[in-house]
Protein backbone atom coordinates (compact mmCIF):
# COMPACT_ATOMS: atom_id res chain seq x y z
CA UNK A 1 0.00 0.00 0.00
CA UNK A 2 2.83 2.42 0.91
CA UNK A 3 4.54 1.59 -2.38
CA UNK A 4 1.32 2.27 -4.26
CA UNK A 5 0.77 5.60 -2.50
CA UNK A 6 4.38 6.70 -3.08
CA UNK A 7 4.19 5.80 -6.77
CA UNK A 8 1.02 7.77 -7.36
CA UNK A 9 2.17 10.67 -5.18
CA UNK A 10 5.32 10.97 -7.28
CA UNK A 11 3.35 10.78 -10.53
CA UNK A 12 0.85 13.41 -9.36
CA UNK A 13 3.65 15.71 -8.17
CA UNK A 14 5.40 15.36 -11.54
CA UNK A 15 2.24 16.24 -13.44
CA UNK A 16 1.47 19.18 -11.17
CA UNK A 17 5.01 20.51 -11.52
CA UNK A 18 4.78 20.23 -15.30
CA UNK A 19 1.51 22.19 -15.30
CA UNK A 20 2.86 24.89 -12.98
CA UNK A 21 5.98 25.38 -15.12
CA UNK A 22 3.86 25.59 -18.31
CA UNK A 23 1.49 28.14 -16.79
CA UNK A 24 4.37 30.14 -15.34
CA UNK A 25 6.04 30.32 -18.75
CA UNK A 26 2.77 31.27 -20.52
CA UNK A 27 2.11 34.00 -17.98
CA UNK A 28 5.62 35.41 -18.23
CA UNK A 29 5.03 35.97 -21.93
CA UNK A 30 1.56 37.52 -21.46
CA UNK A 31 0.91 41.23 -21.25
CA UNK A 32 -1.67 40.98 -18.47
CA UNK A 33 0.71 39.35 -15.96
CA UNK A 34 1.24 41.80 -13.12
CA UNK A 35 3.61 39.90 -10.83
CA UNK A 36 6.72 39.76 -12.98
CA UNK A 37 9.09 40.02 -10.02
CA UNK A 38 7.90 36.72 -8.50
CA UNK A 39 10.24 33.74 -8.65
CA UNK A 40 8.81 30.32 -9.55
CA UNK A 41 8.60 29.20 -5.90
CA UNK A 42 6.90 32.45 -4.85
CA UNK A 43 4.54 32.07 -7.82
CA UNK A 44 3.48 28.60 -6.60
CA UNK A 45 2.85 29.98 -3.09
CA UNK A 46 0.85 32.92 -4.48
CA UNK A 47 -1.23 30.64 -6.73
CA UNK A 48 -2.33 28.28 -3.99
CA UNK A 49 -2.98 31.07 -1.47
CA UNK A 50 -5.32 32.68 -4.02
CA UNK A 51 -3.39 35.97 -3.90
CA UNK A 52 -2.91 36.12 -7.67
CA UNK A 53 -6.66 36.24 -8.48
CA UNK A 54 -7.14 39.94 -9.18
CA UNK A 55 -9.93 40.44 -11.74
CA UNK A 56 -12.48 42.90 -10.29
CA UNK A 57 -16.03 41.73 -9.64
CA UNK A 58 -15.11 38.10 -9.03
CA UNK A 59 -16.96 36.31 -6.23
CA UNK A 60 -14.85 35.36 -3.19
CA UNK A 61 -12.95 32.12 -3.78
CA UNK A 62 -14.50 30.42 -0.73
CA UNK A 63 -18.03 31.18 -2.00
CA UNK A 64 -17.14 30.04 -5.50
CA UNK A 65 -15.78 26.75 -4.18
CA UNK A 66 -18.82 26.15 -1.97
CA UNK A 67 -21.19 26.58 -4.92
CA UNK A 68 -19.21 24.54 -7.42
CA UNK A 69 -18.36 21.79 -4.94
CA UNK A 70 -22.03 21.34 -3.95
CA UNK A 71 -23.15 21.39 -7.59
CA UNK A 72 -20.57 18.83 -8.68
CA UNK A 73 -21.38 16.51 -5.78
CA UNK A 74 -25.11 16.74 -6.61
CA UNK A 75 -24.41 16.11 -10.31
CA UNK A 76 -22.28 13.07 -9.43
CA UNK A 77 -25.03 11.71 -7.17
CA UNK A 78 -27.60 12.16 -9.97
CA UNK A 79 -25.28 10.66 -12.60
CA UNK A 80 -24.32 7.57 -10.60
CA UNK A 81 -27.80 7.24 -9.05
CA UNK A 82 -29.57 7.09 -12.42
CA UNK A 83 -26.77 5.98 -14.79
CA UNK A 84 -25.66 2.89 -12.80
CA UNK A 85 -29.11 1.25 -12.50
CA UNK A 86 -29.95 2.20 -16.11
CA UNK A 87 -26.73 0.53 -17.31
CA UNK A 88 -27.44 -2.61 -15.30
CA UNK A 89 -31.00 -2.78 -16.67
CA UNK A 90 -29.76 -2.31 -20.24
CA UNK A 91 -27.07 -4.97 -19.82
CA UNK A 92 -29.32 -7.44 -18.03
CA UNK A 93 -32.69 -7.23 -19.78
CA UNK A 94 -32.12 -7.62 -23.49
CA UNK A 95 -35.56 -6.94 -24.90
CA UNK A 96 -35.41 -5.12 -28.22
CA UNK A 97 -37.64 -2.21 -27.17
CA UNK A 98 -35.67 -1.66 -23.95
CA UNK A 99 -32.42 -1.65 -25.93
CA UNK A 100 -33.78 0.83 -28.48
CA UNK A 101 -35.21 3.17 -25.83
CA UNK A 102 -32.08 2.94 -23.69
CA UNK A 103 -29.67 3.58 -26.53
CA UNK A 104 -31.88 6.38 -27.87
CA UNK A 105 -31.74 8.07 -24.47
CA UNK A 106 -27.98 7.61 -24.25
CA UNK A 107 -27.43 9.00 -27.77
CA UNK A 108 -29.69 12.02 -27.19
CA UNK A 109 -28.11 12.76 -23.82
CA UNK A 110 -24.60 12.56 -25.28
CA UNK A 111 -25.57 14.76 -28.23
CA UNK A 112 -27.36 17.41 -26.17
CA UNK A 113 -25.30 20.50 -25.37
CA UNK A 114 -25.51 20.97 -21.56
CA UNK A 115 -26.01 24.71 -21.94
CA UNK A 116 -29.17 24.09 -23.98
CA UNK A 117 -30.64 22.11 -21.07
CA UNK A 118 -29.54 24.94 -18.76
CA UNK A 119 -31.38 27.52 -20.87
CA UNK A 120 -34.44 25.26 -21.10
CA UNK A 121 -34.53 24.88 -17.31
CA UNK A 122 -33.99 28.63 -17.01
CA UNK A 123 -36.85 29.36 -19.42
CA UNK A 124 -39.27 26.93 -17.80
CA UNK A 125 -38.42 27.93 -14.25
CA UNK A 126 -38.42 31.72 -14.55
CA UNK A 127 -42.10 32.04 -13.63
CA UNK A 128 -42.05 30.05 -10.42
CA UNK A 129 -38.49 29.86 -9.27
CA UNK A 130 -37.41 33.40 -10.09
CA UNK A 131 -35.75 33.74 -6.71
CA UNK A 132 -33.20 31.14 -7.65
CA UNK A 133 -31.90 33.02 -10.62
CA UNK A 134 -30.05 36.28 -10.68
CA UNK A 135 -29.45 38.98 -8.09
CA UNK A 136 -30.24 37.26 -4.81
CA UNK A 137 -27.20 35.88 -3.08
CA UNK A 138 -27.99 32.58 -1.46
CA UNK A 139 -25.17 33.06 1.01
CA UNK A 140 -26.23 36.56 2.12
CA UNK A 141 -27.26 36.89 5.78
CA UNK A 142 -30.91 35.97 6.18
CA UNK A 143 -31.21 34.25 2.81
CA UNK A 144 -33.16 31.04 2.75
CA UNK A 145 -31.06 27.83 2.59
CA UNK A 146 -33.66 26.69 0.04
CA UNK A 147 -32.22 29.24 -2.36
CA UNK A 148 -28.70 27.83 -2.17
CA UNK A 149 -29.89 24.23 -2.47
CA UNK A 150 -32.24 25.14 -5.34
CA UNK A 151 -29.55 26.99 -7.27
CA UNK A 152 -27.11 24.09 -6.95
CA UNK A 153 -29.77 21.55 -7.93
CA UNK A 154 -30.79 23.59 -10.99
CA UNK A 155 -27.17 23.58 -12.12
CA UNK A 156 -26.71 19.90 -11.35
CA UNK A 157 -29.61 18.80 -13.61
CA UNK A 158 -28.03 19.90 -16.94
CA UNK A 159 -24.63 18.67 -15.78
CA UNK A 160 -25.89 15.20 -14.95
CA UNK A 161 -27.40 14.52 -18.41
CA UNK A 162 -24.17 13.46 -20.18
CA UNK A 163 -22.99 11.87 -16.93
CA UNK A 164 -26.00 9.54 -16.76
CA UNK A 165 -25.53 8.59 -20.42
CA UNK A 166 -21.79 7.89 -20.08
CA UNK A 167 -22.15 5.79 -16.94
CA UNK A 168 -25.10 3.86 -18.36
CA UNK A 169 -23.12 3.09 -21.54
CA UNK A 170 -20.01 1.93 -19.69
CA UNK A 171 -21.92 -0.18 -17.15
CA UNK A 172 -24.20 -1.80 -19.75
CA UNK A 173 -21.13 -2.67 -21.86
CA UNK A 174 -19.45 -4.28 -18.85
CA UNK A 175 -22.53 -6.29 -17.89
CA UNK A 176 -22.99 -7.29 -21.53
CA UNK A 177 -19.37 -8.47 -21.77
CA UNK A 178 -19.71 -10.40 -18.50
CA UNK A 179 -22.78 -12.19 -19.86
CA UNK A 180 -22.43 -12.63 -23.62
CA UNK A 181 -25.33 -13.76 -25.78
CA UNK A 182 -26.39 -17.30 -24.96
CA UNK A 183 -24.60 -17.52 -21.61
CA UNK A 184 -27.76 -16.82 -19.63
CA UNK A 185 -29.56 -19.74 -21.29
CA UNK A 186 -26.58 -21.98 -20.53
CA UNK A 187 -26.57 -20.96 -16.86
CA UNK A 188 -30.31 -21.59 -16.64
CA UNK A 189 -29.93 -25.08 -18.09
CA UNK A 190 -27.14 -25.83 -15.58
CA UNK A 191 -29.44 -24.82 -12.73
CA UNK A 192 -27.23 -21.96 -11.52
CA UNK A 193 -29.39 -19.36 -9.73
CA UNK A 194 -29.33 -16.32 -11.98
CA UNK A 195 -29.89 -13.77 -9.24
CA UNK A 196 -26.84 -15.00 -7.29
CA UNK A 197 -24.71 -14.98 -10.42
CA UNK A 198 -25.79 -11.51 -11.43
CA UNK A 199 -25.28 -10.06 -7.99
CA UNK A 200 -21.80 -11.52 -7.64
CA UNK A 201 -20.57 -10.75 -11.13
CA UNK A 202 -22.14 -7.33 -11.39
CA UNK A 203 -21.03 -6.31 -7.92
CA UNK A 204 -17.40 -7.12 -8.73
CA UNK A 205 -17.35 -6.07 -12.41
CA UNK A 206 -19.03 -2.66 -12.40
CA UNK A 207 -16.56 -1.05 -9.99
CA UNK A 208 -14.04 -0.61 -12.75
CA UNK A 209 -16.26 1.37 -15.21
CA UNK A 210 -17.76 3.37 -12.36
CA UNK A 211 -14.33 4.38 -11.09
CA UNK A 212 -12.83 4.97 -14.52
CA UNK A 213 -15.64 7.35 -15.45
CA UNK A 214 -15.08 9.57 -12.41
CA UNK A 215 -12.06 11.64 -13.61
CA UNK A 216 -13.65 12.18 -17.00
CA UNK A 217 -16.95 13.22 -15.43
CA UNK A 218 -15.17 15.69 -13.16
CA UNK A 219 -13.33 17.14 -16.14
CA UNK A 220 -16.59 17.42 -18.09
CA UNK A 221 -18.46 18.98 -15.17
CA UNK A 222 -15.76 21.58 -14.57
CA UNK A 223 -15.79 22.59 -18.23
CA UNK A 224 -19.59 22.72 -18.51
CA UNK A 225 -19.94 24.60 -15.19
CA UNK A 226 -18.43 27.62 -16.94
CA UNK A 227 -21.51 27.79 -19.18
CA UNK A 228 -24.23 26.75 -16.76
CA UNK A 229 -23.09 29.00 -13.90
CA UNK A 230 -22.87 31.91 -16.31
CA UNK A 231 -26.36 31.12 -17.65
CA UNK A 232 -27.81 31.07 -14.12
CA UNK A 233 -25.62 33.93 -12.77
CA UNK A 234 -24.46 31.70 -9.93
CA UNK A 235 -21.24 32.97 -8.33
CA UNK A 236 -19.35 29.70 -8.58
CA UNK A 237 -15.96 28.65 -9.87
CA UNK A 238 -17.07 28.43 -13.51
CA UNK A 239 -18.61 31.91 -13.32
CA UNK A 240 -15.30 33.22 -11.92
CA UNK A 241 -13.42 31.66 -14.85
CA UNK A 242 -15.90 33.26 -17.29
CA UNK A 243 -15.60 36.68 -15.67
CA UNK A 244 -11.80 36.51 -15.67
CA UNK A 245 -11.86 35.47 -19.34
CA UNK A 246 -14.33 38.23 -20.23
CA UNK A 247 -12.00 40.81 -18.68
CA UNK A 248 -9.05 39.21 -20.50
CA UNK A 249 -7.28 38.77 -17.18
CA UNK A 250 -4.94 35.91 -18.03
CA UNK A 251 -3.39 35.95 -14.57
CA UNK A 252 -6.66 35.21 -12.72
CA UNK A 253 -7.69 32.80 -15.45
CA UNK A 254 -4.43 30.89 -15.20
CA UNK A 255 -4.68 30.59 -11.42
CA UNK A 256 -8.32 29.45 -11.50
CA UNK A 257 -7.54 26.90 -14.22
CA UNK A 258 -4.53 25.68 -12.26
CA UNK A 259 -6.73 25.13 -9.23
CA UNK A 260 -9.26 23.12 -11.22
CA UNK A 261 -6.50 21.09 -12.87
CA UNK A 262 -5.00 20.30 -9.46
CA UNK A 263 -8.40 19.05 -8.28
CA UNK A 264 -8.66 16.86 -11.38
CA UNK A 265 -5.14 15.51 -10.92
CA UNK A 266 -5.88 14.58 -7.33
CA UNK A 267 -9.15 12.91 -8.34
CA UNK A 268 -7.30 10.99 -11.06
CA UNK A 269 -4.66 9.77 -8.61
CA UNK A 270 -7.34 8.84 -6.07
CA UNK A 271 -9.14 6.74 -8.68
CA UNK A 272 -5.89 5.04 -9.75
CA UNK A 273 -5.00 4.18 -6.15
CA UNK A 274 -8.51 2.91 -5.37
CA UNK A 275 -8.63 0.83 -8.55
CA UNK A 276 -5.24 -0.79 -7.97
CA UNK A 277 -6.09 -1.42 -4.33
CA UNK A 278 -9.42 -3.03 -5.25
CA UNK A 279 -7.67 -5.09 -7.91
CA UNK A 280 -5.06 -6.31 -5.42
CA UNK A 281 -7.84 -7.38 -3.03
CA UNK A 282 -9.96 -8.99 -5.74
CA UNK A 283 -8.01 -9.89 -8.90
CA UNK A 284 -11.24 -10.98 -10.66
CA UNK A 285 -12.15 -7.30 -11.18
CA UNK A 286 -11.77 -6.77 -14.89
CA UNK A 287 -10.43 -3.80 -16.75
CA UNK A 288 -7.33 -2.93 -14.72
CA UNK A 289 -4.38 -2.59 -17.04
Amino acid sequence: MIRLLTKHLLLATGRLLLLCVTIFLILRSAETYYERDLSFVEFIGAVFSGRLVRAPGLPPLATAFLYSQTTIVLALVLSYGFGGPLGIILGRYRMIWAQILGHLFISVALATPAFLVAYAVLYVSIADWGIFIGGESALAPGASPRTFAGQCLLLAIPLSFPGIALIARQVSQTVFNAFPEGSLTAFRSLGIPQRLLFDRVIASAIWSPLLRTLPFLLSLFLSVLIVTETAFFVPGFGYSIFKAAQQSDLQSLAVLSLWSSTALLLANSFVDILEEWLHSRNPSISGTK
Binding site: S107, A111, I133, Q173, A245, S248, A254
Partner: protein
Protein backbone atom coordinates in the same frame (compact mmCIF):
# COMPACT_ATOMS: atom_id res chain seq x y z
CA UNK B 1 -36.72 -0.67 -39.95
CA UNK B 2 -33.23 0.05 -38.70
CA UNK B 3 -33.59 2.11 -35.48
CA UNK B 4 -30.49 4.11 -36.33
CA UNK B 5 -31.91 5.05 -39.71
CA UNK B 6 -35.08 6.15 -38.00
CA UNK B 7 -33.06 8.19 -35.49
CA UNK B 8 -31.14 9.77 -38.35
CA UNK B 9 -34.35 10.72 -40.13
CA UNK B 10 -35.85 12.10 -36.91
CA UNK B 11 -32.81 14.18 -36.01
CA UNK B 12 -32.61 15.64 -39.50
CA UNK B 13 -36.29 16.51 -39.29
CA UNK B 14 -35.74 18.14 -35.90
CA UNK B 15 -32.86 20.16 -37.26
CA UNK B 16 -34.95 21.40 -40.19
CA UNK B 17 -37.89 22.23 -37.90
CA UNK B 18 -35.49 23.89 -35.48
CA UNK B 19 -34.10 26.12 -38.19
CA UNK B 20 -37.41 26.99 -39.84
CA UNK B 21 -38.51 29.83 -37.51
CA UNK B 22 -35.12 31.41 -37.96
CA UNK B 23 -35.40 31.09 -41.70
CA UNK B 24 -38.71 32.92 -41.62
CA UNK B 25 -37.63 35.58 -39.16
CA UNK B 26 -33.98 36.57 -39.26
CA UNK B 27 -32.19 37.02 -36.01
CA UNK B 28 -30.95 40.43 -34.99
CA UNK B 29 -27.36 40.42 -33.91
CA UNK B 30 -24.06 42.21 -34.20
CA UNK B 31 -20.60 42.46 -32.84
CA UNK B 32 -21.64 44.34 -29.70
CA UNK B 33 -20.81 42.19 -26.65
CA UNK B 34 -23.72 41.20 -24.40
CA UNK B 35 -23.24 41.77 -20.69
CA UNK B 36 -24.80 38.80 -18.97
CA UNK B 37 -25.76 40.75 -15.88
CA UNK B 38 -28.64 39.55 -13.68
CA UNK B 39 -32.04 40.70 -14.89
CA UNK B 40 -31.05 41.50 -18.46
CA UNK B 41 -32.60 38.47 -20.18
CA UNK B 42 -35.85 38.91 -18.24
CA UNK B 43 -36.62 42.40 -19.52
CA UNK B 44 -37.64 41.19 -22.94
CA UNK B 45 -36.81 44.51 -24.59
CA UNK B 46 -34.98 44.21 -27.89
CA UNK B 47 -31.68 45.91 -27.42
CA UNK B 48 -30.08 45.68 -30.83
CA UNK B 49 -32.88 45.92 -33.35
CA UNK B 50 -30.83 48.08 -35.69
CA UNK B 51 -27.79 45.80 -35.69
CA UNK B 52 -26.74 43.80 -38.74
CA UNK B 53 -28.57 40.54 -39.40
CA UNK B 54 -26.91 37.17 -38.88
CA UNK B 55 -27.35 34.63 -41.63
CA UNK B 56 -28.58 31.26 -40.39
CA UNK B 57 -27.16 29.42 -43.38
CA UNK B 58 -23.75 31.00 -42.89
CA UNK B 59 -23.85 30.15 -39.19
CA UNK B 60 -24.68 26.52 -39.97
CA UNK B 61 -21.91 26.28 -42.55
CA UNK B 62 -19.40 27.95 -40.22
CA UNK B 63 -20.32 25.65 -37.32
CA UNK B 64 -19.97 22.51 -39.38
CA UNK B 65 -16.78 23.61 -41.15
CA UNK B 66 -15.07 24.74 -37.91
CA UNK B 67 -16.02 21.48 -36.20
CA UNK B 68 -14.82 19.50 -39.21
CA UNK B 69 -11.45 21.28 -39.14
CA UNK B 70 -11.09 20.55 -35.42
CA UNK B 71 -12.22 16.95 -35.97
CA UNK B 72 -9.62 16.39 -38.72
CA UNK B 73 -6.88 17.73 -36.46
CA UNK B 74 -8.14 15.71 -33.49
CA UNK B 75 -8.29 12.53 -35.57
CA UNK B 76 -4.77 13.04 -36.92
CA UNK B 77 -3.36 13.73 -33.45
CA UNK B 78 -5.17 10.71 -31.98
CA UNK B 79 -3.99 8.44 -34.78
CA UNK B 80 -0.39 9.63 -34.43
CA UNK B 81 -0.58 9.17 -30.67
CA UNK B 82 -2.01 5.65 -30.93
CA UNK B 83 0.61 4.69 -33.52
CA UNK B 84 3.39 6.10 -31.31
CA UNK B 85 2.16 4.15 -28.29
CA UNK B 86 1.99 0.90 -30.27
CA UNK B 87 5.16 1.24 -32.33
CA UNK B 88 7.82 2.72 -30.10
CA UNK B 89 9.57 1.27 -27.07
CA UNK B 90 8.30 1.15 -23.49
CA UNK B 91 9.75 4.53 -22.46
CA UNK B 92 8.17 6.44 -25.33
CA UNK B 93 4.97 4.56 -24.62
CA UNK B 94 5.04 5.61 -20.97
CA UNK B 95 5.72 9.23 -21.87
CA UNK B 96 2.85 9.28 -24.38
CA UNK B 97 0.44 7.69 -21.91
CA UNK B 98 1.57 10.14 -19.22
CA UNK B 99 0.89 13.04 -21.62
CA UNK B 100 -2.56 11.71 -22.45
CA UNK B 101 -3.58 11.41 -18.79
CA UNK B 102 -2.16 14.85 -18.02
CA UNK B 103 -4.03 16.42 -20.94
CA UNK B 104 -7.26 14.83 -19.73
CA UNK B 105 -6.73 16.58 -16.40
CA UNK B 106 -6.16 20.02 -17.85
CA UNK B 107 -9.18 20.37 -20.12
CA UNK B 108 -10.43 23.49 -18.26
CA UNK B 109 -6.97 24.94 -18.66
CA UNK B 110 -7.23 24.73 -22.43
CA UNK B 111 -9.67 27.62 -22.14
CA UNK B 112 -6.62 29.71 -21.35
CA UNK B 113 -5.10 28.78 -24.71
CA UNK B 114 -8.32 29.45 -26.62
CA UNK B 115 -8.80 32.86 -24.98
CA UNK B 116 -5.15 33.71 -25.56
CA UNK B 117 -5.52 32.78 -29.22
CA UNK B 118 -8.78 34.73 -29.56
CA UNK B 119 -7.21 37.82 -28.00
CA UNK B 120 -4.41 37.74 -30.50
CA UNK B 121 -6.81 36.84 -33.32
CA UNK B 122 -4.92 33.69 -34.30
CA UNK B 123 -7.54 31.52 -35.98
CA UNK B 124 -5.28 28.52 -36.44
CA UNK B 125 -4.34 28.54 -32.75
CA UNK B 126 -8.04 28.60 -31.76
CA UNK B 127 -8.68 25.50 -33.86
CA UNK B 128 -5.50 23.83 -32.59
CA UNK B 129 -6.27 24.50 -28.91
CA UNK B 130 -9.81 23.20 -29.36
CA UNK B 131 -8.37 20.06 -30.91
CA UNK B 132 -6.13 19.66 -27.84
CA UNK B 133 -9.23 19.95 -25.63
CA UNK B 134 -11.06 17.24 -27.56
CA UNK B 135 -8.12 14.96 -28.40
CA UNK B 136 -7.43 13.14 -25.08
CA UNK B 137 -10.87 11.53 -25.00
CA UNK B 138 -10.82 10.53 -28.68
CA UNK B 139 -7.23 9.28 -28.44
CA UNK B 140 -8.03 7.16 -25.37
CA UNK B 141 -11.00 5.47 -27.07
CA UNK B 142 -9.14 5.05 -30.34
CA UNK B 143 -6.13 3.53 -28.60
CA UNK B 144 -8.31 0.94 -26.87
CA UNK B 145 -9.90 0.01 -30.20
CA UNK B 146 -6.59 -0.35 -32.05
CA UNK B 147 -5.02 -2.21 -29.16
CA UNK B 148 -7.85 -4.75 -29.21
CA UNK B 149 -7.70 -5.23 -32.97
CA UNK B 150 -3.95 -5.01 -33.72
CA UNK B 151 -1.84 -6.52 -30.96
CA UNK B 152 1.78 -5.47 -30.40
CA UNK B 153 3.36 -8.52 -32.07
CA UNK B 154 2.25 -7.29 -35.52
CA UNK B 155 4.31 -4.16 -35.02
CA UNK B 156 7.23 -6.18 -33.68
CA UNK B 157 7.05 -8.39 -36.76
CA UNK B 158 7.12 -5.35 -39.06
CA UNK B 159 10.06 -3.87 -37.15
CA UNK B 160 12.01 -7.14 -37.35
CA UNK B 161 11.43 -7.13 -41.12
CA UNK B 162 13.32 -3.84 -41.18
CA UNK B 163 10.58 -1.27 -41.79
CA UNK B 164 11.01 2.21 -40.36
CA UNK B 165 8.18 3.99 -38.52
CA UNK B 166 6.99 5.80 -41.65
CA UNK B 167 7.03 2.60 -43.72
CA UNK B 168 5.19 0.66 -41.02
CA UNK B 169 2.64 3.46 -40.71
CA UNK B 170 1.84 3.77 -44.42
CA UNK B 171 2.33 0.13 -45.49
CA UNK B 172 0.92 -1.67 -42.50
CA UNK B 173 -0.90 0.53 -40.01
CA UNK B 174 -2.79 2.99 -42.20
CA UNK B 175 -4.72 0.46 -44.34
CA UNK B 176 -5.64 -1.54 -41.24
CA UNK B 177 -6.35 1.43 -38.98
CA UNK B 178 -8.53 3.38 -41.39
CA UNK B 179 -11.73 1.26 -41.22
CA UNK B 180 -11.21 0.69 -37.51
CA UNK B 181 -10.69 4.28 -36.57
CA UNK B 182 -12.87 6.21 -39.00
CA UNK B 183 -15.87 6.16 -36.58
CA UNK B 184 -13.71 8.09 -34.11
CA UNK B 185 -13.48 10.90 -36.62
CA UNK B 186 -17.25 11.32 -36.30
CA UNK B 187 -17.02 11.08 -32.52
CA UNK B 188 -14.37 13.82 -32.63
CA UNK B 189 -16.71 15.88 -34.83
CA UNK B 190 -19.51 15.63 -32.23
CA UNK B 191 -17.20 16.64 -29.39
CA UNK B 192 -15.80 19.52 -31.46
CA UNK B 193 -19.29 20.76 -32.32
CA UNK B 194 -20.32 20.74 -28.65
CA UNK B 195 -17.12 22.45 -27.46
CA UNK B 196 -17.27 25.04 -30.26
CA UNK B 197 -20.91 25.88 -29.52
CA UNK B 198 -20.11 26.11 -25.81
CA UNK B 199 -17.39 28.68 -26.43
CA UNK B 200 -19.35 30.73 -28.93
CA UNK B 201 -22.61 30.68 -26.93
CA UNK B 202 -20.72 32.47 -24.16
CA UNK B 203 -19.58 35.09 -26.63
CA UNK B 204 -15.98 34.66 -25.53
CA UNK B 205 -14.47 33.53 -28.79
CA UNK B 206 -15.08 34.57 -32.38
CA UNK B 207 -14.13 31.76 -34.72
CA UNK B 208 -12.01 32.33 -37.82
CA UNK B 209 -14.85 31.62 -40.27
CA UNK B 210 -17.35 33.94 -38.54
CA UNK B 211 -20.57 33.50 -36.57
CA UNK B 212 -21.72 29.99 -35.71
CA UNK B 213 -24.84 28.39 -34.19
CA UNK B 214 -23.40 29.17 -30.75
CA UNK B 215 -23.15 32.85 -31.74
CA UNK B 216 -26.86 32.80 -32.69
CA UNK B 217 -27.65 31.45 -29.22
CA UNK B 218 -25.48 34.15 -27.68
CA UNK B 219 -27.30 36.87 -29.62
CA UNK B 220 -30.72 35.37 -28.83
CA UNK B 221 -30.15 35.39 -25.06
CA UNK B 222 -31.39 38.98 -24.74
CA UNK B 223 -34.88 37.90 -25.71
CA UNK B 224 -35.09 34.50 -24.09
CA UNK B 225 -38.59 35.18 -22.73
CA UNK B 226 -40.14 36.81 -25.80
CA UNK B 227 -38.47 34.83 -28.58
CA UNK B 228 -37.26 31.57 -27.02
CA UNK B 229 -36.83 29.99 -30.46
CA UNK B 230 -33.95 32.37 -31.13
CA UNK B 231 -32.05 30.35 -28.50
CA UNK B 232 -33.65 26.93 -28.87
CA UNK B 233 -33.73 26.69 -32.68
CA UNK B 234 -29.93 26.84 -33.10
CA UNK B 235 -29.65 24.64 -30.01
CA UNK B 236 -31.92 22.06 -31.61
CA UNK B 237 -29.91 22.30 -34.80
CA UNK B 238 -26.72 21.52 -32.82
CA UNK B 239 -28.49 18.63 -31.06
CA UNK B 240 -29.88 17.31 -34.34
CA UNK B 241 -26.53 17.44 -36.09
CA UNK B 242 -24.69 15.78 -33.20
CA UNK B 243 -27.37 13.11 -32.86
CA UNK B 244 -27.47 12.44 -36.60
CA UNK B 245 -23.69 12.04 -36.65
CA UNK B 246 -23.87 9.75 -33.62
CA UNK B 247 -26.54 7.69 -35.37
CA UNK B 248 -24.34 7.45 -38.46
CA UNK B 249 -21.45 5.79 -36.59
CA UNK B 250 -22.97 2.26 -36.48
CA UNK B 251 -23.95 2.61 -40.14
CA UNK B 252 -20.38 3.49 -41.10
CA UNK B 253 -19.12 0.58 -38.99
CA UNK B 254 -21.48 -1.70 -40.85
CA UNK B 255 -20.40 -0.30 -44.23
CA UNK B 256 -16.72 -0.68 -43.40
CA UNK B 257 -17.34 -4.14 -41.87
CA UNK B 258 -15.72 -3.33 -38.54
CA UNK B 259 -15.82 -6.55 -36.52
CA UNK B 260 -16.64 -5.12 -33.05
CA UNK B 261 -19.07 -2.48 -31.84
CA UNK B 262 -17.91 1.00 -30.89
CA UNK B 263 -17.28 1.10 -27.11
Amino acid sequence: MNPWLFALWLSTLLTVIGLEPLRAETVPGGDKPISLSPGLPMTGEPTRASDPVLSVREAAANSILTSLAVAVLTYSLSLAHAFGVLYFGPWTRRILQFTLRTLLCVSPMVLLLVIHAAQNDIGLLIVFSMAIAVYPLTAGLLLNRIHDAAPDFHFLQAKILGHGPIGVFFDYAWPRFLPLTLPFFFLGFIHSLLVESMFSSLGLVSFPLGDTWGSLIHHGLDELLDRPWAVFAPGLAILGTAFATYACIPLFEKLLSVPTKLT
